[in-house]
Each structure stands twice: as structure tokens, then as C-alpha cells.
Symmetry: C2
Subunit: 250 residues, 2 copies
DNA sequence: CGGATGATTGAGAAGTCTCAACCGTGGTGG
DNA sequence: CCACCACGGTTGAGACTTCTCAATCATCCG
């Protein structure tokens, strides 16, 4: 839960009291095995899923069963904070690796959001950041080839891992199979394999097991046309209109 | 502005007073010609853009100048409501057709959101719906071929036009060139052209100028694997926690 | 009538997919 | 302790979708 607060603080200002309020939320941790669906497509949920450990993904499922991963979630991410305002899921959430997921009731989240407008803004901003990543993925899928797409996802995860304190942008664990990567990149596993080999041959990245080592970050970023702006990391203070914080207290 | 309120009401409950408050927002309308960028990539804005007329798009731009359209916005849509909580744009907004755009200052939007929590929730929910469409586009681009992608966008726009009162799902005006459609579908104009011909040959759609006529909605929806759930049209009442509305008044 | 823009067509090239086989490694049961 | 199995990674060859480039056509407008 602390990780979640830390992540919110990347983009929003929250007072100590507000942070406390979030930390005090009731929730229940569960373990799931790799390849378990945490939320099935079409399900209506009454809680959001905070990733505490492992790699989790949101996906869209086609009629033939093919999946497209639309976002990755790493520890500290609330995988479906958006479900708070829209509990009928058009998506699914699945664990790509063994994972620990903390269920936080919508009711709790809404209460704390209602009591503290700054928190509601922080939640809102968090879902907007999620959407911004999605928009970047659309660009990535629509206008970049396999090599750039793979490079981009590696850059994105690298930065996010680093921000989450789970490694550095040039060395982190990405606990996904090439199959799963393919589902995220809109490719086949075979092509992901060949593309990864290409990036290795270019001495841009190396992998050992599921550990990714970026040998040449500038080159990888260049291949990806990576610009971290889309992660919306600027800490905006628009929450702090005169009065906002004050009103939240009463 | 009325259109915007109507659109919010599709997904959120708002009291008369709340609706009034939105209608009273200060704003300034501007006309833009087709192919004008309303917000350039990287710009920081202090207002959101409400589409009053015409077709507007959000896009991501590659280094070679290629663009990927990530969302279409039709009259009644706030094209960058997300900018309210994240004013540093990683995206651009452009007019695909001649358009009337209403600029609404962030300051005004934040004030009304702060005064009425139900409005903040409605705004939040609106951006979540925007993100949900993006997620669907990711699925569409990643796992569907050109024919399904085109069909899906036509279905989406059809439904949205109908909801906005700008036509029916089977007959509406889509004021975009095949070039622009290609930028949205991650294809080339040539291939959009051939794909559209195929849909016409299948008697699924017909076009006259920029008017799209869906000859066989079930077939088109079938080709697209279209399921309107991703538009998040259920009107959720989670806004109405005991007290939410009441607190909003004082 | 001339020019611009957008739609259409054709042909060859490139990127990615499919299918099928093979390899390497870690875990498991005998 | 070893043989085996399952899973994920790797390789090869041919097929298919989509792209590229270039030309042509149609429509609108000055």
C-alpha cells in the first residue's frame, strides 16, 4: 500500500493526513499463480486490484481467444483504478507471473476520495496517466515496426521499474514470456523472438532469464523513439487551487 | 456546452444545479479550418477543448512526421478533459474537418469540480471512458486485420454519432479523408481504400461523399467483433454514496 | 479551363505470420 | 539419481497482409 502512495506522489501532492487516509484503507491481499485471470472480461467488480508483487496485465480478448495486452502493471500500480468509476469491466486483468494482489473495495476508495478532494484528483490523475500510456501504445502499435515497438515497451518498463524502486532502467526483471510480450506488442511469439535477437545483435539489450539488461540505453531509446513525457511524470499542482486542500479537511 | 452536459449524463447522474454550474462556465468559441492543429504535441495548455462542430482528433506524432490518431472527437466531446489534471501534453489535437472548438479554462473546470464532487466524478468517469476506448483501439490495432479495424471504427463512430444526436448508427457523416482514416487505423491510405472497397463489395457499408451508410449493421458489427461495452455506457451510481451529493452543496 | 485535393488502380517489395520442427532447462516420478 | 516431460525459447521455409511508389481518375473550385 505504501508503494501505491509513493506512486501517487510521483504525480500529485498529498498531505501527510491524506497519505495516512490512503494507508488506512481496508484491503485484502491474495496470492495468484501465473496465468490466472484476476478479473474476467465482462465481469462487474466492487474492488480495485493493487499489485503488490509480480507482473499483472490488462487485456482485451478477441472472439477466437486471442488476447491483446493493453497495459502492464508492476508492484505499486492499481491495475484497475478506473473501475472505481466504471465497475462494469470491458477488459480483463490477468497475472503474467506469480503475483500478490491486494483487493481494495471501491466503497473505501470512494469514501476517501470524497473526504479528500486532493485524493480524488490524485486518483483521477492516475487514471489519466494510465490513459496516456494507452494512447502511446496506440501510436506504437499503429505506426512503429516490431523492433521499435519492442524497444519502446522495454524503455517504458525500465523507467517504471526504476521509479518504483524495483531496479534501474538498464537492469530490471521483466517476468513475462515471449508469448506474453507478443500479446502486448500485437505480434507473434516467433516474431518477438527474432526481434529480440535483433536487439541483442545490435548490442542494445541482453537478457538472462527474465532479467533485462539494457546495454545501450541511448540506442534503445533512439530505436523506440522513446520520450518519457507520455508517462506524465511532471508533478502538477493544479490540485492546489486556493481552498481545495482546506475544504478537504472539514 | 449543452451537448457536453448531455454527454456527461450518458454516464453520470447530475442534479439540475450541477448541470447549471457546468453550463455557466466561462468559455470562448473559435473556428478552425480543416487540418489545423489545435494543440501541438508537447504544448502545455491552460484550457480544455470542447468540440462544438466538426471532427477533431487526438494524435501522436512520430519523428518522421507520421501521425497516429488515437481518438476521434465529435461534437459534445471534450477532446482533452484529461489535460485538466495533466496540462503538459504528450499528444496533439487537430481538426480533421472545419470545426468549432470551445476553449474552457482549466481553472473554471477545476472550480466547478471542487464545488461539486459529483461533477468531479463525472469528469473523472468521462476521462476513464476515453481511456477505455483507447484500450479497445490497442486491441483493435494489435489483434485485428485491416477489415476488422475499419469496421470497428465505423461501428464506434456510428454509435457515438447516434448518442450525440448527430445521425443514426447506420447513417452518419464522417468528415475524414481516407488519409486521416489511415492515420487512425495504423494503415496506409491505399490500403484503407482497398479495405473500404471490400466492405462495400460485401454490402456492409456504402459511402456517398463523407456520408457513411451502414447497409448491414449486424454484419459490420460481426466483422468488427464490435461490442459496445467498451464505451462504458452504463450509468453508474457509485457517485451517490450517502452524503456525496449533500456535501457538494455547501 | 487549370489546379488542387482526394479516391482508385497496379505491380513489386517488405514485414510479419503460420506451421512445424528442434533445443535447453528445470522439475518430477520412478 | 536418472529418465522423462513440459514449457519456453529458437530456427527454417513458405504464405499472406500490408506497404511503397507511381500513375490515373474524379470532383470541386477559382
Amino acid at each position: 500500500m505504501q508503494r501505491f502512495v509513493t506512486k501517487l506522489l510521483l504525480r500529485s501532492q498529498l498531505s501527510g493526513e491524506e497519505q495516512e487516509a490512503i494507508l488506512r484503507l481496508n484491503c485484502r491481499a491474495t496470492q495468484v499463480r501465473a496465468r490466472t485471470d484476476i478479473v474476467s472480461p465482462g465481469e462487474t467488480v466492487d474492488h480495485a486490484c493493487l499489485v503488490a508483487q509480480g507482473l499483472v496485465a490488462r487485456f482485451d480478448q478477441m472472439l477466437d481467444g486471442d488476447r491483446q495486452i493493453t497495459s502492464f502493471y508492476i508492484p505499486g500500480d492499481m491495475a484497475d483504478l478506473h473501475s472505481v468509476v466504471s465497475p462494469a469491466a470491458a477488459w480483463g486483468i490477468t497475472a503474467l507471473s506469480p503475483a500478490t494482489v491486494v483487493h481494495v473495495p471501491h466503497k473505501e476508495l470512494l469514501e476517501v476520495a470524497r473526504a479528500y478532494p486532493a485524493i480524488m484528483l490524485a486518483f483521477w490523475r492516475d487514471t489519466v496517466a494510465d490513459g496516456s500510456v494507452l494512447a502511446k501504445w496506440v501510436g506504437n502499435l499503429g505506426r512503429q515496426d516490431a523492433r521499435a515497438r519492442l524497444a519502446h515497451v522495454l524503455c517504458e518498463i525500465g523507467i517504471r521499474m526504476e521509479l518504483a524502486g524495483l531496479g534501474t532502467r538498464t537492469a530490471f526483471e521483466l517476468d513475462a514470456t515471449q508469448d506474453q510480450l507478443a500479446d502486448a506488442l500485437g505480434l507473434t511469439a516467433v516474431h518477438v523472438n527474432r526481434t529480440l535477437q535483433r536487439l541483442r545483435a545490435e548490442r542494445a539489450v541482453m537478457t538472462r532469464g527474465h532479467v533485462v539488461e539494457v546495454l545501450d540505453w541511448p540506442r534503445l531509446a533512439d530505436i523506440a523513439e522513446f520520450d518519457p513525457d507520455f508517462l506524465l511524470l511532471g508533478k502538477t499542482d493544479c490540485a492546489l487551487l486556493p481552498g481545495t486542500r482546506a475544504t478537504s479537511q472539514r
